[in-house]
Symmetry: C2
DNA sequence: CGGCTAATTGATAAATTTCAAGGGCAGTGG
DNA sequence: CCACTGCCCTTGAAATTTATCAATTAGCCG
């Protein structure tokens, strides 16, 4: 058995969730995947709370998130914080250098310990990757639109359930194999900052989801025992790639 | 005087807000602008409430908004509506054909009478337009992130003021010249659906802005007599292109 | 003058925040 | 080993914001 494992092509079981995600998206040959892998620079680690930035000589740069979670955060003048979007392993993050003309807000910060690789920008010029890039951008925008819908029109209960389902789908797309179990390294405070809720209210809402058996906390993550019902209740619809 | 007017190059005073916006963004030659203009198909009109769709043979298509306002709308199963984003003259709208695999929600609908031109997609392959396209995409996401911040972290008062300032900046970028006066063809119900507020509450909030002399209604629009103060109060920061 | 749609108002209910505090648990150093 | 500290989760009570419900008014157009 071990021999069979080793005989597999490299791209078949990468421990890199970005590659796994591309593989599952389909439309790429094994050579394409390898080419993409070669366009990744060595990973760099970041401690929680550290800001993810582009090299100083670039205004904006893409990094492939290998492990850990990050988020784009905006801070208001009185200290209120909003996590605009969450990044999980497998995501490609557009980061700006803080010195660039970019606003000092909207920075990408590590929410846990993070490892990420810079991506050689020219990779996107090649034939199969140009379309791929568009598709990834489109999916990222779809997530932002989900976020707007949650914050604008849903109750706390719906918001949280909807977000958890979205994270489940995203994790599944990047190689998370255990169905209905998702990783959840965020504190309730971070979840609240994402969903536009106070920590207190997020806590009570989470308890309600647990009471109703829609969520079960496990070590290092949570289980969604009945995603179909939760999806119905929270109007969740899968993200179409 | 009339003769001087006619002698001007065509691209200098187009009645097409999309061209005007590109011109003001800078970095494009007069020939580039003309090339872009040639990539526009004849405008098509749409009545309010009508859905803007791509041709059936395309999954997704871009249309340049010439006049009137549109919005991307999501409708929940119980009828709640969220206007995800607003489109004003000068914007380029990514529309999907409703029959495409795209979800039946997230359609682009005309909020007023609208005129828009399809864009020949190959225009974006050419040299100066590839970068331009990226920049336009980036600005569009910046608007979405603004929207997330408003809905997630701001009070009704802040949300409305912030949105009005954003619309002012966008209108100025597309040729609206009258400073501090913006067009506002939306009903209070539509504004509420954008800002995640009920019509009733939006109305009261608008009255408060008027009471405090932050907004003055004029025929077909509104005036923001003191945008600097309003920007400070609502944490508004200009969109960096 | 109807007949529409949009704006406005008042009273009440519901969702969410705020404030203040307590409890669990892991790491750390005496 | 135990006290100590920091971080996170949890709880209760009260205040605030926003939604809901139900009319009423204002404009506009044919």
């Amino acid at each position: 058995m071990k021999i069979v494992e080793l005989a597999r092509p490299v791209h078949h079981a990468p421990d890199n969730p970005v590659l796994e995600r591309l593989r599952r998206m389909g439309g790429l040959s094994a050579e394409d995947i390898d080419a993409f892998q070669r366009s990744l620079y060595p990973p760099r680690r970041l401690a929680p709370r550290a800001t993810m930035m582009a090299e100083l000589r670039f205004p904006t740069v893409q990094r492939a998130l290998i492990s850990g979670w990050a988020g784009r955060v905006r801070i208001l003048s009185d200290g209120r914080r909003q996590l605009i979007e969450l990044f999980i392993p497998g995501d490609i993050v557009q980061v700006a250098s803080s010195t660039a003309a970019a606003s000092p807000n909207d920075l990408v910060v590590a929410l846990t310990e993070v490892a990420s690789c810079a991506i050689e920008p020219t990779i996107w010029d090649e034939a199969p990757f140009q379309q791929l890039g568009r598709r990834l951008d489109w999916m990222a925008t779809a997530l932002l639109r989900n976020q707007v819908m949650r914050l604008g029109r849903q109750s706390a209960y719906e918001r949280l359930g909807h977000l958890l389902l979205e994270l489940r789908e995203r994790q599944a797309a990047a190689g998370g194999d255990v169905r209905n179990v998702i990783a959840m390294p965020l504190t309730q405070e971070m979840l609240g900052e994402t969903l536009g809720l106070t920590t207190v209210h997020l806590n009570r809402t989470m308890q309600q989801l647990r009471r109703e058996m829609m969520v079960r906390s496990t070590r290092l993550g949570m289980e969604l025992p009945d995603p179909e019902t939760l999806a119905r209740v929270t109007d969740y619809q899968p993200i179409e790639g």
